[in-house]
């Protein structure tokens, strides 16, 4: 039987303004996890009933550890940020389907936006071939070193120009005239939508990791849906981000909302 685990927190550090990195001892999860999957983190606060879905940033199968990188945006992530190494946290996972890694592709483009960047680290770690990582942030970048360690070329765009290219990540892709056989992407929906249009134009297959508000995280409540085409924009189904995703092919997604 599956169950929520009480995982030991090995580390929980501020790595940038309002962004924390948490390392968990979670043998079972690490053993099974794939890049792009997520976990449910549960709050201790009694008013906060729903699990918080957080992507797995890195998997250390040997030591049975996973790392998570999360931004403090509301009550739940605020609670997580107060936890100390040595304490425990309830966690369930791995959940969802990760990225479908296509080893036949020699040139990979990886596009991350803001707090959508973390799951791309494990992906880049596992990808073979050339890895061009494009990251967009409002102002402050995260995880650049992690990508470099795994042999990626990292290109950064910030909206306020405080680091790297001033502008958004699509503009940077265009400016660099980026070329690749496949794109893996995670970030805010407007970014994904724009990149998906660019990918289509350039005939590059693209996987996107979507976000949606969730209740169960395991496919039971049908809360977390996105529109996935059956045939075309008009003939679509509501699919579950938690169970059928979070990763989808960008051309399956109905982007128009």
């Amino acid at each position: 039987m599956k169950e929520i685990k009480h995982a030991l927190i090995l580390d929980n550090q501020l790595i940038a303004d309002n962004i924390y990195k948490m390392t968990l001892e979670a043998d079972g999860i690490a053993r099974e996890a794939k890049a792009g999957q997520f976990v449910n983190l549960y709050c201790k606060g009694e008013a906060k009933l729903l699990p918080r879905p957080i992507s797995i940033c890195e998997i250390d199968k040997d030591r049975g550890r996973i790392t998570l990188v999360y931004g403090v945006v509301g009550q739940g992530t605020k609670e997580f940020s107060t936890l100390k190494a040595g304490e425990k946290i309830e966690v369930l996972g791995p959940l969802g389907n990760g990225f479908k890694i296509d080893e036949s592709k020699a040139k990979n483009i990886i596009v991350g936006g803001g707090i959508g960047t973390p799951p791309l680290v494990e992906l880049v770690k596992q990808l073979k071939g050339e890895k061009e990582v494009y990251l967009g942030f409002r102002s402050q970048s995260i995880l650049l070193e992690a990508f470099k360690v795994y042999g990626a070329n990292v290109h950064v765009a910030t909206e306020d120009g405080s680091e790297g290219f001033k502008g958004n990540v699509l503009e940077l892709l265009k400016k660099n005239n980026a070329k690749g056989e496949i794109i893996y992407s995670c970030g805010p929906k407007p970014m994904l939508k724009a990149i998906a249009a660019w990918a289509k134009e350039n005939e590059i297959a693209m996987q996107v990791s979507l976000e949606e508000r969730m209740a169960c995280g395991i496919g039971a409540c049908v809360g977390c849906v996105c529109k996935i085409k059956e045939k075309d924009e008009l003939d679509w189904q509501h699919k579950k981000v938690c169970k059928d995703g979070p990763v989808f092919w960008s051309d399956e997604v109905v982007w128009d909302d």
């Binding site: 009933l49 039971a220 049908v222």
Partner: protein, 304 residues
């Protein structure tokens, strides 16, 4: 833990459940997902998500918002339709030694009848008529908030139901006993309550409602006082069995509902926080029975 002499069996309109714990429709899928966390054989019944005559897409996302001690949903009864349900889910559930309660959705009296007609030939144990979903409105008022409509839909549907018919009531009414009497008059063999309250949450940074649907169904521990009050009132107003729900997440909660008059209890939102909530509730009920030497829940049901 539980000794032989403690009898957990309950009877709902002639259908015997091995224990009083079932699931709240829409929170447990058709049992597959939570079946990986709990042994479905241990549940008195599994109440599946609402099914309609044809597939429904439901409402746009976001469909979920968290509130203080509760949550909102605006799923809007997304489901693959009764045919798919009968094909895929009944055979799955019949592998387990548990009763099957099927929640029925509809947008018109005739759609309700159509689904019930279809289900009456299927291998299920009880039908739960959902006239109370706040997320799908026809003509601005749901069947569950109007005495005449509630009576009428129950009466019509009853003609097609071969299994006992439970009607699930909405708490968004001035007088729940009036509606309860109307559906019992219409032929209901049992009553489920409460469905969700109508609620709302706003994202103050984006300055718009969190739910795409603006308002949604409010459930979870926060709503328990309203649910318990309504079960208490309805238990005094009618004599059919009641499946009580609304915020149940522990055995103690369940005992409160049974003391208020419920025959069975359903666990809903609690599953999202604790996938083993159904079993924890069941164990809690057993502990209470052992502690106070209660042989059968009949001894304490409705004694408040």
């Amino acid at each position: 833990m539980i000794k032989e002499k403690h009898n957990l069996k309950v009877n709902i309109a002639g259908v015997e459940l091995k224990n009083p714990v079932t699931t709240a429709s829409g929170t447990f899928g058709s049992g597959r997902e939570y079946g990986e966390f709990v042994d479905l054989n241990q549940l008195g019944a599994v109440t599946v998500k609402g099914v309609s005559s044809t597939p429904w897409k439901g409402n746009p996302a976001p469909r979920i918002a968290e509130t203080y001690g509760g949550m909102l949903n605006s799923v809007g009864l997304q489901n693959p339709g009764v045919e798919e349900f009968i094909k895929n889910d009944i055979p799955f559930l019949r592998q387990y030694d548990t009763k099957i309660i099927v929640n029925v959705a509809g947008k018109s009296v005739s759609e309700y009848c159509e689904v019930v007609e279809r289900l009456s030939h299927a291998d299920i144990d009880l039908i739960e008529l959902n006239i109370s979903c706040p997320n799908v409105k026809e003509g601005g008022v749901t069947f569950g908030t109007d005495v005449k409509m509630a009576h009428k839909v129950t009466k019509e549907v009853k003609r097609y139901a071969k299994q006992p018919l439970i009607v699930k009531l909405s708490p968004n009414v001035t007088d729940i006993t009036e509606i309860a009497r109307a559906v019992v008059d219409g032929g209901a063999d049992g009553i489920s309550l409460i469905n969700t309250l109508l609620g709302m949450a706003i994202d103050i940074h984006k300055r718009k409602p969190i739910l795409a649907n603006t308002v949604g169904g409010f459930s979870g521990p926060a709503v328990k006082p309203v649910a318990l009050r309504m079960v208490y009132q309805v238990a005094r107003a009618v004599s059919v069995p009641i499946i009580g729900m609304g915020g149940i997440s522990t055995g103690e909660d369940a005992i409160e509902f049974i003391l208020a008059g419920a025959t069975a209890v359903a666990v809903g939102t609690a599953n999202f926080r604790n996938p083993r909530a159904t079993i924890d509730v069941l164990e809690g009920i057993k502990e209470y029975m052992v502690r106070y030497g209660i042989q059968s829940l009949d001894e304490i049901r409705g004694m408040i």
